[in-house]
């Protein structure tokens, strides 16, 4: 019984913590983000298994976690509000060459991040060449050129 409870509790906890950490935390994976991801996975592994390293326990946990994932994906597809709650929604951060500074600050995205994405994705040099820059739900920045 406790294997299922552990799996559910840890899944929800990690989901909530990552959701409220802000989407930039894992959007553009830096070395620091990668190290953080490794450490979180090691921490949760011990908490999931506890003292029980049996194959049975790991099977139960795997099934529990996959079932939760399926449940959430069904809920996201069925209810748009659940999708927005869990994943957030894309947001315009540059409009007609003008950076929306309040949104950039609240999202912890810099103008340099936007210009970097513009160079990488569209080969653009300047902010005024950008019609829209959108911060996607996964933390990536997409660019629509002017």
């Amino acid at each position: 019984m406790d294997a299922v409870i552990r799996g559910v509790a840890i899944y929800f906890f990690v989901l909530v913590v990552l959701r409220f950490s802000g989407r930039r935390t894992f959007g553009e994976m830096t070395s620091f983000d990668f190290v953080l991801l490794l450490i979180i996975s090691e921490t949760t592994q011990q908490a999931l298994l506890g003292d029980d390293f049996s194959i049975t326990n790991s099977f139960i946990l795997i099934i529990t976690l996959v079932a939760l994932d399926i449940l959430f994906s069904l809920a996201e597809n069925r209810f748009n509000s659940v999708n927005r709650l869990i994943n957030g929604s894309p947001m315009i951060i540059v409009e007609n060459g003008r950076p929306l500074r309040h949104r950039l600050r609240c999202s912890r995205v810099s103008e340099d991040d936007v210009l970097s994405a513009a160079r990488r994705l569209q080969g653009l040099e300047r902010m005024d060449q950008i019609k829209y820059a959108v911060l996607e739900v996964n933390g990536e920045i997409t660019i629509i050129p002017a």
């Binding site: 950490s21 506890g50 929604s89 947001m91 315009i92 829209y132 959108v134």
Partner: protein
């Protein structure tokens, strides 16, 4: 409605999300400070002491512990040692069933299971200095009521084991 137009309409939800994020960050900071102070075990906030009514037996222990994380119960029984020099210490079944006793210092001269729990006998002349140290590990989360009796005096320890 174009894709971009839909994005323009979603800013109010985003503002609510930012507010929730800031509150969550504050909560995380408070949890970190509380953890540093031992509110979740292993720190000053979780350490407490209890004495018997007559003051002959006392203990210092962590009233908040984490499951499978070791914790020290320091028993002071110096005032309860009889003239024979052999002190019987009885711990109730909760200590047996809900904790793993990893270490007892000094080692008791004998240990026996009795209906009430476990009975240890310590030779007070063996250099106990009147203190017995128990290193215990909580096995299951929940509120645990441990009682320890020595020389006719009893103390009750209330321990919260966190999952």
């Amino acid at each position: 409605m174009s894709g971009i137009s839909k994005l323009k309409g979603g800013i109010e939800f985003q503002r609510r999300t930012w507010r929730a994020e800031r509150i969550a960050w504050l909560l995380m900071a408070l949890i970190i400070v509380a953890a540093l102070l031992g509110a979740f075990g292993n720190g000053p906030l979780s350490r407490t002491a209890v004495s018997s009514g007559d003051g002959r037996v006392s203990a210092a222990y962590d009233f908040i512990q984490r499951r499978s994380s070791g914790s020290l119960i320091e028993l002071d029984i110096s005032s309860a040692v009889p003239s024979s020099g052999v002190l019987a210490v009885l711990a109730n079944r909760v200590l047996l069933n809900d904790f793993r006793i990893e270490e007892i210092q000094p080692q008791p001269a004998s240990a026996a299971f009795v209906p009430e729990g476990i009975l240890w006998r310590f030779n007070a002349g063996g250099g106990t200095g009147g203190s017995v140290l128990l290193r215990v590990y909580g096995l299951q989360p929940g509120l645990k009521r441990v009682s320890i009796s020595a020389g006719g005096s009893r103390i009750d320890l209330q321990i919260i084991v966190l999952p």
